[in-house]
Symmetry: C2
Amino acid sequence: MANYKMAESNSRVIPLEDKIFGISQRAKQMIQAEGANKVVNATIGSLLDDDGKLVILSSVVDVLKNLTPVDYADYAPIAGTPDFIQTVKKAAFGNYVPKAYTEAVATPGGTGAIRNTIQNYSKRGDQVLTSDWYWSPYSTIAQEIERSITTYTLFDEEGQFNISSFDSRVQELLQKQDGLVIIINTPAHNPTGYTMTLEDWDKIIASVKSAAKSGNKKITLLVDVAYLDFAGDPEEYRKFYPKLENLPDNILVVIAYSMSKGFTMYGMRSGAMICMTNDKEIADEFKVVCSFSCRGTWSNCTRASMAVLSNIYKDQELLDKVDAERETHCRMLVKRGKTFQKSAQDAGLKIVPFDSGFFVTVPCENAEEVGLELQKSGIFTVPIGKGIRVSVASISEERCKKLPAKILEAIKTINPNYK
Amino acid sequence: MANYKMAESNSRVIPLEDKIFGISQRAKQMIQAEGANKVVNATIGSLLDDDGKLVILSSVVDVLKNLTPVDYADYAPIAGTPDFIQTVKKAAFGNYVPKAYTEAVATPGGTGAIRNTIQNYSKRGDQVLTSDWYWSPYSTIAQEIERSITTYTLFDEEGQFNISSFDSRVQELLQKQDGLVIIINTPAHNPTGYTMTLEDWDKIIASVKSAAKSGNKKITLLVDVAYLDFAGDPEEYRKFYPKLENLPDNILVVIAYSMSKGFTMYGMRSGAMICMTNDKEIADEFKVVCSFSCRGTWSNCTRASMAVLSNIYKDQELLDKVDAERETHCRMLVKRGKTFQKSAQDAGLKIVPFDSGFFVTVPCENAEEVGLELQKSGIFTVPIGKGIRVSVASISEERCKKLPAKILEAIKTINPNYK
């Protein structure tokens, strides 16, 4: 715990610098010094084209540039504009119509939705469960409000979803706590690119139902769908939703939806938390408590992004245009991932079970050292404990093809006994 | 405390509906039913023109509409873009150059700055001090992170700043707590319109210096300048800043700056927290801990609004245009306030000491009933405990002139023994 002169640490362990930011800075410095063709910056969590430029849906920018002055200037209501609240459900659910009470509250990106869920469905000191491979800001979010992250093992030895680890951690935690928030980041999980299969979902649902059956414990399933629209076919990747219906009242589902990736509006800070429950009162209280959290944290959210989403969904032609533009970029991304996967297989480089999305993870010992070794050849990745995360979102297909062999080489240099 | 089915109250007292929103909704319904000329909606916290339309600085909207696609789409760094961090200090301080270490962190409006200050400079369970007339979301913000608001009496019997109440509350609280966050909303305080005079500031500084002199207590002076650019002459209303220089290291100053009012960008959620301290290490730790709070709460802030501010300050001609446009509207607002004040005096209606800004407050007993009585004549105000808040920002000068007599009438109907 740092010894601050004026600030209070308040149970948080605060690093001096954001790790990813630091590595990314070094990559930029090397690009300036030696040229872009000497550097592979696979640290970035945004989709870039093959020339390293941010992919931006021009159809979305057109809408944003042509809003009314009031849509730029005026406050939105705390929970979001009525139009947005309706529309964001369509954006999140697609053609699926939930057989459940759903309420939505606007949040600044997915981060705000995760923050508000932990805040309202756990207590100070509680542990929040997620998989051992996880997006590190989950821990920052939990710590900031005096909770912490604990993990289950995502994969078993056969590379299958490890339901027994999930199940035993859920039961163990519910012996200590009155409630449990479980974060499941799917499809196209950050950092592994894994997508929960429908069978995985059956197992998850059976496990939480069993853990909740006494009726005196509360479980909140927080499904972080940040990468939903860059996983592949939109219908296919929404097929898990019906699994979340008809749960007992003491299991609440919260969808953390973000416009950041799907509408390439990262910087406009727009998202929503959407609940699914069979109990209308639980949906109503969701709206009330989450609105209070908004009011007491960031007040209202960016009205302009809400107007963008609402306007797009009011105009079928425009929606088709946005979908088509996204599909092109999504295909490029999926191809990069598959190329990396295939090339890793050919080279004999193990990767963590991967389906699609922005990232691939390579498991290895001494990940920090492997990361530094790769930097010697101008390759920048993010070491994350038991492996290194490679952003296929930010490098070309050609580089996706070449990278596995180089990573294998670096791993073998650091770990001579690899495999 | 509500008995929730799934949510945790976590020490918060959560109302079912936002009070101001509820009154405002009723005003809108009456406008629809009976026409706009029958209704005076003095509840709104945004500047409206005489026709009830939102005042929007067109020069700012022009900049916003012409940003690059990357400025709309890309993430900003967690603490804000380097350009914004530099520029927002200029916007907050004007021609004043602080003789202090200053660091800035971008936040979603002033709310985010207030939230992050309380979070990082107090502990769970602490009381945060502000005046008895205060903007009610301060309490929401404090409660959301398990702190609470306590108050000193803003005015003495002569209507002067009540330094003795301030001083005794500061001392009392520091006997119980290791540190104290004090929120001072000036100039053009919400809800009273009062501005701390330079003499008031001298008294405040003497009081906190005396309370901090043992060296083992920490005081954070959070100056909420949300209405800074709609108070009157920009230079004049920035004259208090030098009072905040050269304080001992255990008194930290944080300026909560917002683009919402000054740039009529309410809905773009842009602001900053800026520290002033004589100790570089304290400024550095401010940056680190507040960035962590951002990362763990809303991640980064709206890049487009940062670009707007940066672009405006890079172009003197444009800046002059924005300033000139704002000045026109500011004059209109100041005139409305002065008209209300004069008319109240003429009618024999007491108001809380007023200088300028969006709101005037009328002290009275049974404020809720007075509010309802006024609604019968189509006048909508916000009852706030010991009085009613009237938004002169949202009604015409003509209405500002007529309103005091009507308010007096309603007060006398409810409180026959008034004065």
